[in-house]
């Protein structure tokens, strides 16, 4: 494949300001079980080549699943025509931040290749876990295992040549307690498909689906007869799984520099973290430290190089509460006079790289979880996402959680259903007065982050530990 890619790049070299070519070959295996019965065993392979050219200061991109030499040359020609069309209306020539030439490779370190694990073993795990959840009013149980192996080859006219193999494993279980006119759901380890990591099958063994099946079924049954979450303003502790999505929506997206520059305006929206706020804006309390770290072992947003050939790195986005950095691509970093921090990623060969979250992490604090809860007289412990929504500047958010537990005089108490909490991003992060320590810290994998037109789904990670927030508006969905 390398030879044919290089041949295509050579064909383009004299006619472009810059070009890169990416070959992506992705294998996926998804197993789904419902109520102890296999409902899907899907395997897929998807491969192709994307060619991105910068001509006359404007971008063109064309992609194809047909990998012969003639098809790639035709696709290269098409990318040139598209770039010429782009140059019909431009404000200024696109320029790229400087990047060194990299000839390198990266492979996700794994212990057990998930694609080599016996299919029957994988099915059996989900069959047993979903059967175990069918207790009392739990009439529907679901389990999923999901594995990806992605080979990438990147070549650019700047001489970079990067080979990567990324392996991802994920899984989760869900119990639905159902009675006339209502159902309640509990998921483990996280909602909406479970937890994911760049890891082999050892990740699935570590998350212990079977061992947690009965507990979440019990909680789903409890929720069905629980009172709705009370309305008002109260102190809350947010568990790691829900906090991962809070970080995702209220920090991860607004620090994407392309959003800040208006490139997502007609679709996903903009950002309140405008350029004038960089290094001048108090985003949260001094306890709040947030990084983008694509080097974090096992994070779902971990890789060797992004899809522009920039090495994975670690950047502070928020330091001691102050907003200090954006996620950048080569094109947008140039506008700030910076180097790219390596976050331009494409869903696959048929999409262009966009600025995407890597692992966006709320760094751990110094508290034990019982200290966070112990210092609340009346409040709530909330975890496991059920619903999310945030405005187009990423300020007014509202989340629903599967689970809410009363905190009374520093102790966890009864369970509430249908909890929601709402806030305004900087006010919310300023209300943070405690983050639990490394012992509770986990990198959650979120495999469904959407952005761009045409749409791109990206796999990202979030390191979090439970944290406390004072005087937050809570209520219940109806």
């Amino acid at each position: 494949m390398r030879k044919i890619l290089k041949n295509t790049l050579d064909y383009l070299e004299s006619r472009v300001d810059y070009a890169d070519i990416r070959f992506v070959d992705n294998d996926r295996e998804t197993i789904e079980v419902e109520n102890g019965i296999l409902s899907a065993y899907n395997i897929s392979n998807n491969r192709g080549v994307g060619i991105r050219v910068l001509v006359n200061g404007a971008w063109g991109f064309a992609s194809t699943n047909n990998l012969n030499k003639e098809s790639l040359l035709e696709t290269a020609e098409q990318s040139l025509k598209i770039a010429m069309a782009s140059s019909l209306i431009k404000k200024e020539d696109i320029r790229l931040a400087r990047e060194e030439r990299h000839v390198d490779s990266y492979t996700t370190p794994i212990v057990m290749d998930p694609f080599k694990v016996n299919p029957e073993k994988k099915i059996e795990l989900l069959v047993r876990a979903t059967r175990r959840m069918l207790k009392d009013k739990v009439k529907k149980s679901e389990g999923i295992l999901d594995f990806y192996k992605t080979h990438k080859l990147f070549l650019s006219t700047e001489g970079s040549e990067i080979k990567q193999t990324i392996i991802e494993s994920g899984g989760g279980i869900t119990a639905h307690a159902i009675e006339e006119g209502e159902f309640q759901t509990r998921s483990y380890p996280a909602s909406f498909g479970g937890d994911y990591a760049t890891s082999g099958y050892e990740f699935i063994e570590k998350i212990k689906l079977l061992e947690n099946a009965e507990r979440i079924a019990h909680e789903a049954n409890e929720l069905l007869v629980a009172p709705p979450c009370p309305e008002g303003s109260t102190d809350i502790v947010i568990g790691g799984s829900q906090l991962a999505l809070q970080v995702h929506e209220s920090c991860g997206h607004p620090v994407e520099l392309d959003r800040v520059l208006g490139k997502e305006l007609s679709y996903a929206g903009g950002s309140f973290l405008t350029l004038d706020k960089l290094n001048h804006f108090s985003y949260g309390s001094p306890l709040v430290n947030i990084t983008a770290d694509a080097t974090l072992p096992k994070g779902l947003g971990t890789f060797g190089f992004d899809d522009e050939g920039v090495p994975a790195g670690r950047t502070f986005l928020v330091k001691r509460g102050k907003f200090t950095g954006y996620l950048t691509s080569r094109e947008d970093a140039f506008k700030l006079g910076q180097k790219s921090n390596g976050t331009a990623r494409a869903e696959s060969w048929n999409r262009i790289p966009l600025i995407r979250m890597t692992n966006i992490n709320l760094l751990p604090g110094n508290f034990n979880l019982n200290e966070l809860i112990g210092d609340i007289k009346n409040g709530l412990f909330l975890d496991y996402n059920k619903s999310w929504s945030i405005d187009d500047k990423r300020l007014n958010f509202q989340f629903g959680t599967e689970l809410a537990r009363e905190i009374k005089n520093g102790k966890l108490g009864k369970i509430f259903k249908n909890a929601i909490y709402q806030g305004i991003t900087p006010e919310f992060w300023h209300a943070c007065d405690g983050i639990s320590n490394e012992k509770y810290w986990h990198t959650w994998g979120v495999a469904n982050c959407g952005k761009g037109q045409p749409g791109q789904t990206m796999h990202v990670g979030h390191g979090t530990s439970p944290a406390r927030f004072r005087n937050i508006k809570v209520g219940a969905s109806k």
């Binding site: 998804t30 019965i37 409902s39 899907a40 065993y41 899907n42 395997i43 897929s44 392979n45 998807n46 491969r47 192709g48 971008w59 063109g60 991109f61 064309a62 992609s63 194809t64 699943n65 047909n66 025509k81 598209i82 770039a83 010429m84 069309a85 782009s86 019909l88 209306i89 404000k91 029957e120 099915i123 529907k140 639905h176 159902i178 006339e180 209502e182 159902f183 520059l261 208006g262 490139k263 305006l265 007609s266 679709y267 048929n350 619903s387 929504s389 405005d391 187009d392 500047k393 300020l395 007014n396 629903g400 249908n418 709402q422 305004i424 037109q453 045409p454 508006k473 969905s477 109806k478």
Partner: protein
């Protein structure tokens, strides 16, 4: 793109490869281009040629599904062989999987040669027209214009062979000047129907009003929703309320309510490929012919839509709403949601509203409670206060937490005019509606 003869021959080869085993095949061959612009210049411009080829192998009620994106003979053979191997170790289903028999299709997708032949340069020129018109009034525009062609082939070992080709045009734009914004979306099969001049006039009309936004307090309001906003609500309702699988699992608000009158007489919602304003597909992803399915008729809950698997499992009739094989476990989807028109004119709806809010568009809508279809989301790009029958002031963006069931129960005016807007899995045909139940739960300062 490969023609019908190629695919007929291809299926013969697959039959040979699979010998006595049953199979279903779905192939989607696509060729599309999308031009994206922001602040009045093109910043992304892409093209894609692709193929999705999925085989479901049925081996005595043991099923495996494999997918690839090449027609390379050795790769196809290898993948089919893998599907056979996998099917042998799969557990047996808890119901008998029957293949569909050959069908007759009455509908064809819409196809436009103009759209098929629309080039990146043509797309750029359309965008130049928009940017220049909007720019003359000092506004900047952002958005995307996508044109594409897609061939869908569904076949099985019982002799089903369904072939269809369609074109699509998908356009959206937001225009901005300081806090003044407006939004428009357009979906069609025909590029010639994309009338940039008319869209610019509508955008500027909204944007000129959308100035000096004021705050209002959260609470229950009478609202008039645009077709764009209604389409979003109907998409969410279709997904969470009318999927037959959820109904059978008692996870839908209509479970057990079939035949009950929940809504005013004026509410009729269907999945209707025959609606004049929709963009139909002739068959679903196992080859069932598409037909009209009443979801709510004259205020009475009728039933939902059923996919092939759910129909087999629960002894129901498949309604031609089966999803592609890799999404089979999700149940069924309404591909052509359409809400029946009313008798009212938008102008009269506003004129007859003493105090209310007009909503042009929602942002980031998500489900809070599927059993009441309680949704949350934000208003955006043109929300206006209605006072004494007139749009008086623009309103800052508001968050809503509101139940679609309660919203539809309180609908008292529906427009004659309907528009076709993009939905989750297909276009949605929606009118303007007025409802006396809409809960704003919090506000923003912009």
């Amino acid at each position: 793109m490969k023609d019908i003869t190629f695919w007929k021959n291809f299926i013969k080869k697959i039959k040979k490869e699979l010998k006595v085993l049953d199979f279903e095949m779905v192939a989607i061959e696509s060729n599309s281009g999308l031009t994206r612009f922001t602040q009045s210049y093109i910043h992304q411009n892409v093209a894609e040629k692709n193929l999705d080829l999925t085989f479901k192998v049925i081996n005595k009620d043991r099923i495996s599904t494999v997918k690839l994106n090449t027609l390379d003979e050795s790769e196809v053979k290898k993948t089919v062989k893998r599907a056979i191997e996998l099917s042998e170790i799969m557990p047996v289903l808890d119901y008998h999987y029957c293949l569909l028999e050959p069908q007759i299709y009455k509908i064809k997708s819409q196809f436009s040669e103009k759209t098929e032949n629309f080039t990146p340069l043509d797309r750029a020129q359309k965008i130049v027209q928009l940017v220049e018109r909007i720019g003359q009034k000092g506004y900047e525009s952002s958005g995307a214009l996508e044109t594409g062609i897609e061939t869908l082939i569904v076949a099985n070992s019982e002799g089903v062979f369904a072939f269809d080709r369609k074109t699509t045009v998908d356009f959206n734009t937001v225009i901005t000047k300081n806090n003044s914004t407006a939004y428009h979306s357009f979906v069609s099969s025909e590029i010639n129907h994309l009338n940039i001049k008319r869209i610019c006039d509508e955008l500027l009309n909204t944007a000129f009003r959308n100035l000096n936004q004021v705050e209002i307090q959260p609470g229950n309001y009478t609202v008039i929703l645009s077709p764009e906003a209604v389409a979003e609500i109907l998409s969410e309702t279709g997904y969470a309320g009318f999927d037959g699988k959820l109904i059978m699992e008692k996870k839908s608000f209509i479970s057990g309510k079939q035949g009950k009158k929940l809504f005013p007489e004026s509410i009729t919602i269907s999945d209707d490929p025959f609606d004049k304003l929709t963009m139909p597909i002739p068959f679903d992803f196992v080859g069932y012919p598409r037909g009209k399915v009443d979801l709510i008729k004259n205020g009475v809950i009728v039933d939902g839509v059923y996919d092939h698997l759910t129909a087999l499992k629960y002894n129901k009739n498949c309604t031609g709403n089966t999803l592609p094989p890799e999404s089979a476990s999700m149940g069924a989807a309404s591909f052509n949601i359409a809400m029946k028109q009313g008798e009212d004119q938008l102008e009269d709806m506003i004129l007859n509203t003493e105090k209310g809010v007009y909503i042009n568009r929602f942002h980031y809508v998500n489900m809070l409670n599927p059993m009441s279809i309680e949704l949350t989301g934000m208003t955006k790009d043109g929300t206006f206060l209605i006072e004494n029958g007139q749009l008086t002031k623009a309103i800052k963006n508001m968050r809503f937490n509101t139940s679609v069931v309660d919203l539809l129960k309180s609908v008292d005016m529906i427009s004659r005019e309907r528009q076709t807007k993009p939905g989750f899995v297909g276009p949605v045909v929606a009118p303007y509606i007025r409802t006396n139940h809409f809960i704003f739960s919090s506000k923003t300062n912009f």
